[in-house]
Subunit: 263 residues, 2 copies
């Protein structure tokens, strides 16, 4: 399996980088081919701006979705973005690894998503009709591939628990797992998360590395999060609201979009 | 009231910019002093990196939280970050305005948060004991001030509804409203959101502008989202888990952290 790991930490001697090396070694030991996009080392440009669309006229308004659609269709995206798209098409699996900063990904990684996820490639794909609403949420350019997050969090695990003050980690990561990975078609594996990284010692690292190695060993066989397919009949089209009667009793919010105990 | 509006769209002739101008005009008409941080116009640097910590030794490992703490304590943050912190301290209220890209803020705005929210200023503040766990979630450097989001979304409102496929908008924005605004102390007002901006016409703009003007007119009197104060007795310390019996019957996840119908 070809695996692309996109990595976002500014320090090569960080705990994050050490865990990245553990993941890469274990994936390679399992026979996978691994490529790493180390965004800081690459000097990745974070913000979407006019420079991303060299074919856009000097006086033209920059409407990001329209500019992205045109640039993808005409092959005029910048070379750095085209290279990342080529890596995504090479990869059977994508891993995003990042420290959780302010309950989200660091800006440089968000900028990788904002720039690489072109219109016509990651969104704006497929037919919109009374039968389907584009190829997204389980269908799309990256369908049939796997994706997974590796996340380091400075805070306590309990603070991210079901009743923890930060909110449950699975809900905090839903906009990424469902909104960024599942959207263009990936099967999304449960994330690997390690907490308390601000107070890590050698034993903490050894334990996290052991768990991460195990996740990498079973990577190809891990069952994905059972998100619902948008066009599979569960949602009204075009309002894309979940049909009455679906969803576990009492479930609301993000949890509705996972099949739980349904056939 | 002094209001800082942080704006993140690359096109000065965008719908976003037009709505920003509506908001600023209405706030000024109501007698408020308004400053705008237009991140693209300022050439804001998005990524946290070594250049943010000029006092960090060339060979020292960059540990972002430790470097931020030291730089804030010694007054060696970069001039651009210090200027934004000064604006936050000047402002009685903060508005973040952005287009929703991939269910989150654009990279350039995330980078404003990552860089301006220094350790000792926005986090790592206050006493940690068996009575309180720092000054955060309703307490902190920015307590007593108001904050609010202005969000433009390309998709349909129904897709962001209670059963919509994207997930409910209030949950998608929780990591920002609760995790970024409430965390350092702001009272967080309900967001202003306008949908379907990819297919806006003049009537849509007129309607959104009218609603936005009304929100700006009542800005100083709007009741904030009733998030729970971390140190008010609702949470166990130090695990910061909501005490049993609190939360509306059947509530889970993010909803637990709002007081609803409690005294």
């Amino acid at each position: 399996m070809n695996v692309l790991l996109v990595f976002a930490h500014p320090e090569p001697r960080s705990l994050s980088a050490a865990l990245r090396d553990v993941a890469v070694q274990e994936l390679e030991a399992a026979g996978h081919d691994v490529r790493v996009s180390d965004l800081y080392a690459m000097g990745w440009k974070a913000q979407v701006d006019r420079a991303d669309f060299p074919a856009l006229g000097t006086d033209a308004r920059l409407l990001p979705a329209a500019a992205s659609r045109n640039a993808f269709a005409t092959g005029t995206l910048t070379a750095d973005v085209q290279a990342e798209i080529a890596k995504l098409l090479w990869a059977d699996a994508l891993i995003l690894q990042f420290p959780l900063w302010w309950f989200a990904m660091p800006a440089i990684l968000k900028g990788w998503v904002d720039r690489v996820y072109a219109y016509g490639f990651a969104y704006g794909v497929g037919e919109h009709s009374d039968r389907r609403w584009g190829d997204r949420y389980g269908e799309g350019s990256l369908a049939g591939r796997r994706a997974m997050l590796i996340v380091t969090a400075g805070g306590w695990a309990e603070h991210y628990g079901p009743r923890g003050v930060n909110g449950p980690i699975d809900d905090l990561l839903f906009p990424i797992n469902h909104g960024i990975l599942y959207y263009p078609g990936y099967d999304v594996l449960p994330p690997f998360i390690t907490y308390g990284t601000d107070r890590y010692d050698e034993a903490s690292f050894a334990a996290a590395a052991r768990q991460l190695r195990e996740r990498m060993r079973i990577f190809a066989a891990t069952a994905p999060i059972p998100y619902r397919r948008q066009n599979g009949g569960d949602y009204h089209i075009p309002t894309m609201e979940l049909r009455a009667g679906l969803g576990a009793p009492g479930a609301s919010g993000f949890a509705l979009h996972r099949r739980e105990g349904e056939e």
